[in-house]
Point group: C2
């Protein structure tokens, strides 16, 4: 096999979610990802739920296919080792607070001195410059500061954050794209570079037309529950037994929907066109809602699916995991973890015809690859490694 | 200037949001993106709000830096032109329903015949295979089918979709990463390939630890408003005048917070550790909530910022656009559009030290580049192009 990603080495100083999601994607492609962790405790997520046999599934999922070394970056020897590894790595990535790598003597400027064409990415809450660069950020802080939190939720209820840490994940996948672009640039120019990625900006970048509504017309978009500013019905309804999501953005789709419901709604001039249905949705919603309440979700999905109307049940996580679509496409992969045992996790989220993206190995135990990396990459003797271990440097 | 992305040509059959977000990122890097649109009406988003001078800001934002040609793909000449352009493009991307490009005679298999090492990506709701491959999907359908919708919202309220079309954007950025990976693979192997990206799988991929909670322990995660399964307080509170988001995931941070509040909470054994605060949060929440209601958001943010406690107001879109952090980092760019006039939009969402990512040109008017593309890339005469226009083929 000829996998060009196997020749890429990433020295990974990231923790928790944004950075580890980014490097997971590279590790899945086959890149060598050397995760650098604090001696003793390691990445915080080694202590995040869910647990099995006292081992974190959170960590095990996001750090598959990676190696782990421990390193006390605050010690002079730790810093020297980190620079020695940067010299032999193609990519460095970190998601500490802005300024931390500088304080440790491991900034891009220091990395360049030992490896002039290195690619070096930083992910942070607000970026490496500007008045907020030192402000601490967790996912909910980034959701709040990017406008996303305020526009999610029902108009008559308080705003609500996205249920999962989307600002983290979104920064991570944007970082992955930028790193891949920098690799391509390096191939053609021989130049490395620095990449500054923030959760605030990457989240702002996925607000669809919300920012433009303001810059074009001064409109400040508000949250609107499950509705859409441009189409109706584009909503979630209460059914006889649960909920159902539907989306009709055209007369073609709405016509199919009213036929499936056995109703004639479009002959009412208030509801004849998508723009009118959106404008008069407050009157249309109860008409459709009354019908939905008389039918089960399963019946509505079946009926609308047959009619070609975009429709969906609101899947629970267990229903998602067992869904035939997920199963038949091989999106869940089983991996044997030495402590957790066999367990299933989502695989790489796309399918290439050439590039292979298997979960090849379980996430590493803390420091599992320290000896190997120090011996092979830096030529350290067993005695020297033992001495560093005795002093808690690795 | 030596910009290697200028040598990449993308033939872009995408519309609305997921695909156009993907190709916007490439266009920002400098790649040539030739957007293929329906004669007459073009991309649906040319008719999506917001409008100024009857021109869509939605379209103008997401299609900057691109070219536009019109082409009736259902006509034999349209198909021939499309294949002729595929021959000279590095990447093809489309986000029609699965099977549409096959019906048009423009599938990956057809593209390979004219261009053996082409890279060809499809974005769809559920993927190109499996029982749901032909099911129609809009963003809310994908949010529902990936579990995201059900886990967003308050526990005592119905689930709510993410306010923006995150399933679309997230599929788009994953596609961009995969395309860049395929370009890198092509550099090293000379091989093109097909990439199958679905909104359902890419959304499932960013559910943090939710899937693993189920596969490891059989726990089906439910929505929990603004709270986090592993930390407390990690929440949004009502203040004297609005809301505020806070995040404390450790004793260090919570200690700072109680000091800033002038309270001693941690000496109560129920709240001594993060795990206990999470466990007893139903009792802790009203204690903190009462304090929050007596203070304004601005005062709380100022106080907590000084104390190093992660905190944020819930920015409105107008506050986001004018925020000094966004301004000082140059995240908003002004572009002159021939019909809209000057307007501001979010720029490329990351900062490279080498790669330049300016908004170089306004989004194209429908078919603005048809003549040029047909003449230069395919050698068509003026007369031939006029004849195709007269017959509504371009």
């Amino acid at each position: 096999m000829n996998n060009p990603f196997e020749n890429i080495t990433i020295l990974d100083f990231t923790h928790v979610y944004s950075g580890p999601y980014c490097t997971m994607l590279f590790a899945d492609l086959g890149a060598r990802v050397i995760k650098v962790e604090r001696p003793g405790s390691g990445d915080d997520t080694r202590h995040y739920l869910p647990f099995k046999n006292n081992e974190s599934g959170y960590f095990a999922y996001l750090n598959r296919n990676k190696e782990s070394i421990t390193l006390d970056l605050k010690s002079p020897e730790g810093k020297e080792i980190a620079l020695g590894l940067m010299k032999q790595s193609d990519i460095v990535i970190e998601n500490f607070s802005a300024g931390t790598m500088e304080k440790l003597g491991l900034s891009y400027e220091e990395a360049r001195k030992v490896h002039p064409d290195i690619i070096y990415a930083s992910i942070s809450g607000f970026g490496q410059t500007g008045p907020l660069c030192h402000k601490a950020a967790y996912d909910n802080i980034a959701q709040a500061m990017s406008g996303l939190l305020r526009v999610t939720g029902y108009p008559d209820q308080p705003p609500v954050k996205v249920g999962v840490s989307i600002a983290d994940a979104n920064a991570g996948i944007h970082a992955a794209f930028c790193l891949m672009a920098a690799l391509y640039y390096h191939e053609h120019t021989g130049k490395g570079q620095y990449i500054d990625i923030s959760m605030m900006e990457t989240t702002m970048s996925v607000l669809e037309n919300f920012v433009i509504q303001y810059t074009l017309n001064g409109v400040v978009p508000e949250r609107m529950g499950n509705e859409h500013s441009a189409s109706a019905p584009f909503d979630v309804y209460v059914t006889k037994d649960d909920y159902v999501a539907v989306a009709t953005a055209s007369n073609r789709l709405f016509s199919r929907m009213q036929d499936a419901m056995g109703m004639d709604i479009m002959s009412d001039p208030r509801f004849a066109e998508n723009t009118l249905r959106r404008k008069n949705y407050v009157e249309l919603k109860p008409i459709i809602g009354a019908w939905m309440k008389e039918h089960t979700t399963a019946d509505i999905v079946s009926l609308f699916d047959q009619a070609g109307v975009p429709v969906a049940p609101l899947l629970r996580i267990d229903e998602l995991v067992h869904h035939p679509q997920i199963r038949q496409r091989g999106m869940m992969e089983t991996q044997h973890h030495p402590i957790i045992g066999d367990f299933e996790m989502p695989g790489f989220p796309a399918h290439f015809s050439e590039i292979q993206t298997p979960v090849r190995k379980a996430a590493p135990l803390l420091g599992a690859d320290t000896d190997d990396v120090l011996a092979v990459m830096l030529g350290f003797s067993k005695e020297k490694i033992q001495e560093l271990k005795d002093r808690d440097i690795v």
